[in-house]
């Protein structure tokens, strides 16, 4: 609760938080079906209508309502971003803690494995995974999670290595605390701050990657709306129907901006050393 108040006091945090909340609200309404129109319904007589009172963001080539599709698309993007980052955070934390705690061979093997994954440019790794499993929403989740797991492993391993050598961990060992207690109580709790910042920034990257994959036609599959795909479809119509490009483009940009602002605010709040310089 204290952190929420701190975010509300921070300018970037306030703006970022508000953007994320608005996007979440739009996504929730889209998921509940509370959209201005049916996002899949083709109003053939109203094809390529410019924004107006009936269709707030216009209609596409098939006469589908852009605003409704945008609401569902935001939901798809956020679903991929949240699940992939959650999976990467969980796996990365477990692997990072294991590498730091077990040390020696385990540390060496796990970190070299992470080096191998990090040697692949992110989009290529995603393409390989998608080629194996086939495109779709959950494939995007897996692909993005695999890309970000090495980053979380590194974020956790570094501080965990130094925490492991601290006096309070030695003291806990001396008092006979179990390994699981030390790991969860003394290591994991102290890693919450760097992890929170990393999670927020990773959500922005995940949104970006998801939109990129959808743009290539390898993310969410039609007819389900997705922001990247809507943008990709707008390419041949950008002169006659620029709204098809403007609204999905803005939606992607604004949602990424929201998480970036929130991440910056959290970094300021949780890491006072960075406060002045990056604000």
């Amino acid at each position: 609760m204290e952190q929420v108040r701190a975010i509300a006091r921070h300018t970037s945090g306030r703006i970022g938080g508000a953007i994320v909340l608005v996007c979440l609200l739009a996504a929730a309404l889209g998921a509940l079906g509370w959209t201005p129109h049916d996002p899949l319904m083709q109003y053939r007589l109203d094809r390529l209508h410019a924004p107006n009172g009936t269709y707030w963001m216009g209609t596409d080539l098939f006469g589908r309502d852009v605003a409704s599709r945008l609401m569902v698309g935001i939901g798809q993007s956020f679903t991929v971003a949240f699940f992939s980052v959650a999976f990467a955070t969980l796996t990365g934390t477990v692997l990072g803690l294991a590498a730091a705690w077990l040390g020696r061979r385990w540390d060496g093997t796990l970190m070299r494995l992470m080096d191998m994954l990090m040697a692949f440019p992110a989009i290529l790794l995603a393409l390989l995974i998608i080629a194996i499993i086939g495109p779709g929403l959950w494939t995007s989740v897996i692909a993005i999670a695999v890309i970000y797991t090495p980053i979380f492993t590194r974020v956790v391993r570094g501080p965990a290595l130094s925490l492991k050598e601290r006096e309070f961990v030695d003291a806990a060992r001396t008092f006979g605390s179990s390994q699981s207690y030390i790991l969860s109580r003394h290591l994991l709790l102290n890693l919450v701050a760097p992890l929170t910042v990393q999670v927020t920034l990773a959500l922005a990257w995940a949104l970006l990657t998801e939109a990129g994959l959808s743009f290539l036609g390898l993310g969410t599959q039609p007819p389900t709306p997705s922001l990247g795909l809507m943008l990709s479809d707008s390419r041949n119509l950008m002169e006659t129907a620029p709204w098809l490009m403007v609204f999905p483009g803005l939606a992607i940009m604004i949602s990424i901006l929201g998480f970036n602002l929130l991440g910056d605010a959290l970094r300021d709040i949780l890491d006072p050393k960075m406060r002045r310089s990056l604000a």
């Binding site: 070299r112 040697a119 440019p121 393409l127 194996i132 002169e239």
Partner: protein, 319 residues
């Protein structure tokens, strides 16, 4: 063992691991390369013809033998034959690589030319309205996906000025440098913009820290001009994080900017891999991904070395 020696020792091991991962991964893709290559005509092949083709491309053996053969050939400079192009993989890669390298270099130049001065300007006007303006633009720039920006640029050019970027046929820099530059400048600006935003933020942050250091104060008290303090004393040190960031970005760009290449119809490495994966061209995917991974690792190693050269206080072995 110091840090650099450690990196050099693990370098081939990591590369070997990458080769194994990509070798196995591409074989997990459903379908086979002969069907992908011939399409519906693959159905017309007799079993003997199919076997002969599989033997020709070396895909009739168990995977570990294929892997061993591939490694053996790799050490002899042979990355295999592409089933899509019917030519040696290395030739195909080397044909596409100059474009990718040129695009990476041009976008880095755009980013550094815009980002560093903007960062320095914002730092020297800290907390003033112009600083706020630069920070807002940088934050928006960092949040704008390059494919959104690419489409916006194409839209502005076509709707506003009635000109469309030259697409379809690509002219190499050796054939006609001016035509080449006119084809490359828009993708380079598209890719460079978001990176310029990151460079602005990082160089501003580094400059703010450095401008408070004792040696900067000493230089000022000795009567050095504000310009000399900023450009001669503060900036070289502020560039250290920029070098690291540039290295990461450059290695990313060497992997081929798949989406931007797609938007501007550029025949770079990114599109080559994308098409090779879709065509299940095993040899081409393996060769290209390994080539890219090798470049990424070399660039990362060079960045570490540059880091130590720029800041002699850094002892790599003591990290």
């Amino acid at each position: 063992m110091n840090y650099l020696t450690g990196r050099l020792v693990t370098f081939p091991l990591v590369l070997l691991g990458v080769s194994l991962i990509v070798f196995i991964a591409i074989r997990l893709v459903p379908g086979d390369s002969i069907t992908a290559m011939l399409g519906t005509e693959a159905g017309l092949l007799t079993p003997k013809q199919r076997e002969a083709l599989a033997a020709y491309f070396g895909i009739d053996q168990p995977w570990f033998i294929q892997y061993w053969r591939w490694l053996y050939d790799l050490f002899h400079g042979d990355l295999g034959v592409s089933v899509t192009y019917g030519r040696p993989v290395l030739d195909v890669i080397l044909e596409r690589f100059p474009l990718t390298l040129e695009l990476a270099l041009l976008s880095m130049i755009v980013a550094l030319l815009v980002g560093v001065p903007a960062g320095v300007y914002a730092a020297t006007h800290n907390e003033q309205p112009s600083d706020l303006g630069v920070r807002i633009i940088a934050m928006v720039g960092q949040s704008t996906p390059n494919f959104v920006l690419g489409l916006v640029i194409i839209y502005i050019l076509s709707a506003g000025f009635g000109i469309l970027p030259v697409m379809g046929t690509f002219t190499s820099i050796w054939q006609d440098p001016l035509t080449n530059l006119s084809q490359m400048i828009l993708p380079a600006v598209t890719l460079g913009f978001a990176f310029a935003a990151s460079v602005t933020r990082i160089s501003r942050s580094a400059m703010l820290d450095i401008l408070k250091d004792d040696y900067v104060r000493t230089a000022r008290s000795k009567g050095a001009s504000s310009r000399a303090v900023i450009w001669r004393h503060a900036l070289p040190n502020a560039l250290i994080p920029v070098v690291t960031l540039s290295g990461i970005e450059f290695s990313y760009l060497l992997g081929g900017a798949v989406i931007v290449e797609q938007i501007f119809a550029l025949p770079g490495l990114g599109r080559l891999v994308l098409d090779a994966i879709l065509q299940r061209d095993y040899a081409l995917v393996q060769g290209t991904v390994l080539f890219i991974a090798f470049n990424v690792m070399v660039v990362n190693l060079l960045v570490d070395l540059a880091y130590a050269t720029l800041d002699p206080r850094i002892r790599l072995g003591e990290r």
